[in-house]
Symmetry: D2
Subunit: 337 residues, 4 copies
């Protein structure tokens, strides 16, 4: 931590900072510059509440040297993590595709979609049982019945399943029926939910909050990991920007950036990142070219009939074409799919 | 709802949209323009899933005419709502100030702050018992002990209390000890929590998500109201923008804009909206000048010692000065404080 | 400047940085922490190209201690600047109001508006002669004829005038006819224009770029000041955010923040910051409560007939009411209007 | 255009809108809904100033049906444009790479870089002669000498050149020495400059303003095209978002989105879009996978010695490796490079 004092800070104010450091068993190097005094703090200052120092009267700014997350960082674990699933893993050479409808509407619907995405090469069936919508007046999902459908269908087709969980009270039930917990964008800082997901020890797809910096995102992963669950899969799904002609803005920079900072695998969700069916294929290809370890796609045999997110759902027919295009990109970056 | 067809939409595609409308008991007015066909939908089309129409192959864009929220809208209830509390109300002529520490640290701490803010004119004591922090390695609050402290202290000083609730499982406990539930920015779309807050019938301060448009914000309020709880107080607390020199950007436009669209009262939180102690007073004054019905302020007799949010906490001494400044602004806009 | 080396930086990489510093006559303090080496640079490192250091192979990040602007900073000139105009100044106790139409359409139009805003208490007539619009197919202003009209009208009514300049080739002409040059948001980093405005030595209202951080904004002011022109008036006019229900988001935090960092006066433009006529009054009041030194308002006796920016133009009748409301707010913050 | 009246609009207010439409030779379809009256406008309403209608007292909102740009739209010209250059074109099957230093520093520097990028397969040499920096205290470019160097070097190596122009007064000179004019992000709405670039009839790379919606961006292209110059090449170079860990956020969605809306070719600039050397390759690959027609790369044999933008400049050695990687991606999407 580097502490920049105000230009007019008086000596007693400087001493107050220094004694706060000493109280926390930290040492300082003092530099008296032409305009200001700067204190550099030695030692692991993660114990120090940065804000407390910042609030001392002579302090202008505090700059962090260490990243505030630890378990998720590359410094902590230099080689990339592979999240092992039943029969394959995420984070290795193979790119994993997860596909399915936004919401489970019936067993017939899910069965048909599962068959078609499996045939096209998807390994994980996505589909929500508990869908909370932005408006209380919209379709809200099948609940426990949906979970049972997911379990039957994925087992029939030899797929794994990923299902969203929104409420800490649902974690146990979802863990019973599904292989992977998915935590949605609005829940990225739902700490009680992160904690339950951590305790469950289940693989977790943690979607990035649409407002979250990379640091905040990795700190959310850290919450899950701090409970002893290292099976965290990151997911870039678009951020909120001033661009209102697409639903969100895919932050493609996030993929190589996060790869540098963390050992966790990263998948991309071009369906939510664009919100527009005609853009999904191009952004899926871009994500793999940028280094994503997997892709989430919303697909339905008849997107028009999808109860939710119909705007961004591609047909299973287009999905199959996309898979063959993605295979070419995967090969071009030295990976398999 | 207005449906803009693509320039090259064929007649069967147009008919597909029309029959979807008829299936939903809606009528259309068809307009064949020079470049495109436009369909205007008559009737209350809130029942229609906009996205479904949008996903039909000949459709270019769908534009909404009706706002998607209803209970929260001024059209539904033209006069402003007053949320009645014990002895006063929010949303009337009087501006209500809520003040206190970010976190409850001890009974002594809260008791001293409560006495000082009461003396300065605050009516509601704010203070968190369950504080989840961005990092799992930071102070996390006193929990149930904190709730008991809040109850004893607020009763001793004749104040009401507002306390944050983050987990749907905590709603019942917090409702027992506190007068007002506060739902924080990261929870604005935590639907299970909104639903529990709705069922509790307690007054709720619903903070705006730092990524939320006005429409999304009012839809979140609608979730609570849809459970039969009309006691919702909105709170503008800053949004996430590209400006990184302040913690958030206070969206002052939100105050008059929301006043036009909704009958719900609106308070402002200049502490979080700036994240910088030296800016709090100016933004508090601006909020009242813009029409806010109340103000939330983080204050502590020794901000340096605050366990959380020390950067943005003002001293109780400065709080008292601010109160007298706010009284002048309140008078200048024809209100009392 | 603080230089954070990578955790795995080798000694020759560290030495490379140090010798780059020495080549620039700078000294360093080296701190060997547990995880990394940190170098603090002593001396005025503004001469150093930060990016060059940042690009050395062992360097992880570079953090600046000194603000990159100098002439505009409070450190350089602690007391607030007053920009002296003919008969009054901006930046003192008095709040200055500038009002007028978005575009000058005719002498009759401007004459009538000038009379009405003068009567209500405005001191400066605003109005564009060269109006470039977002679309090439919209009204583009009267040009030199407009400048002549402005000059005649402002002199007749004993007002000063502020006129936008967009092209470095226009600076001389505008300087001849108008008292204040206005540089619009899209021109904030139009360096050739800033340079000409600097050379003119005229008072300049420099509007904030809707994408600009505070640092970038003050650096743009620095461009003008570096030419020997200290008569710069800042203007917060709204920034671009994800909120699409208003035209821009008024960054009210900017007013107290910039007041801390710079000695330059700051005015606010609630017309552009909201883009919506019904929000202008509330945001104008908020701006004065937050400490603005002046206000720019778009007004017209018949806003419906305004050729440009009709959405955000208030009637001269409402302007007169607003002036009396602003006077009360000014008094509440100890100023005059 | 669709005009949504306020719920409480009175009949004379409705008639006022209708007569405004008739004054502009437009016809309306009136729909009296349950809550509001809606007017749909027939005919080419681009002539109508939307804002004027919006400002009428009974009007709530106005929604556009036609895009405000015309020459740049796919509706106007369905097949993609190819910008013909000397020996090749941009917008066809071949992906064009433009590479070079941020700034021209000397003939030796540019000559060496030109040789290396040519050998690796670049067709266009980029490099700025007039570099205006964010701070007036930084390196500002070689000016006319730089232009002469560019001309000699590009001719020697059989490359074309693209050079930034910032000042309308420079257009003629740059057009004399360089093959392509480049208009930078801060100049996207510098209308005098756009107009001069239009008049020059030269090929123009128009970079997207970092704050610009797609609509605003295409309107800026329209400015150039309205002068009779159809040789416009769009360039996505990153937008300003809340993410502050990268310099900008590459808006990868923009590539397929703009391809749908416009016939103009689109290139990508991963150097500025990331601002971080280690991210450039991944984002370059993603851009081609997403459908970009070309790539701009900042490269230098010794990035550390680059006078400007050193952070984001890759070595010519890494550039050569990147080119071979890009060739694989190009092939995977059925194109050549």
């Amino acid at each position: 931590m580097i502490i920049i004092m105000k230009p007019d800070a008086r000596e007693p104010e400087i001493q107050e900072v220094i004694s706060e450091l000493h109280d926390n068993d930290l040492k300082e190097v003092r530099m008296d510059g032409a305009e200001r005094v700067v204190l550099a703090v030695l030692g692991d200052d993660r114990v120090l509440v940065r804000a407390k120092i910042n609030s001392l009267s002579g302090v202008d700014r505090v700059m962090e040297v260490l990243e505030p997350y630890k378990l998720a960082s590359r410094e902590h674990k230099p080689e990339g993590s592979r999240i092992k699933l039943n029969g394959f893993s995420i984070g290795g050479e193979e790119i994993i595709v997860m596909a399915g409808p936004c919401s489970v509407e019936s067993e017939e619907q899910l069965d048909r979609i599962a068959g078609e995405v499996k045939a096209a090469g998807a390994k994980i069936l996505r589909g929500g049982a508990f869908k909370w919508r932005t408006s209380p007046h919209e379709f809200q999902g099948l609940g426990l019945d949906g979970l049972r459908i997911i379990k039957r269908v994925k087992e029939k087709h030899g797929l794994l399943s990923a299902t969203e969980v929104l409420d800490p009270r649902q974690v146990e039930a979802v863990a019973q029926y599904s292989d992977i917990l998915q935590i949605g964008t609005v829940s990225m800082q739902n700490y009680p939910l992160l904690k339950e997901a951590g305790k469950s020890k289940m693989p977790v797809i943690l979607k990035r909050g649409k407002w979250a910096t990379y640091k905040e995102y990795l700190l959310a992963a850290e919450y899950i990991m701090a409970e002893g669950n290292e099976n965290v899969i990151l997911c870039e799904r678009g951020i909120r920007t001033f661009v209102n002609e697409t639903r969100h803005t895919m932050d493609i920079n996030a993929i190589p950036y996060l790869k540098e900072k963390t050992h966790l695998p990263i998948v991309a969700d071009p369906s939510h990142a664009t919100g527009k069916r005609s853009l999904v294929a191009a952004v899926a290809k871009a994500s793999i070219a940028a280094g994503a370890d997997g892709i989430l796609i919303e697909t339905h045999y008849d997107p028009t009939q999808a109860a939710t997110d119909a705007d961004q759902t591609i047909s299973t027919e287009n999905f199959a074409t996309l898979m063959s295009d993605l295979r070419k990109i995967a090969a071009a970056v030295g990976r398999t799919l």
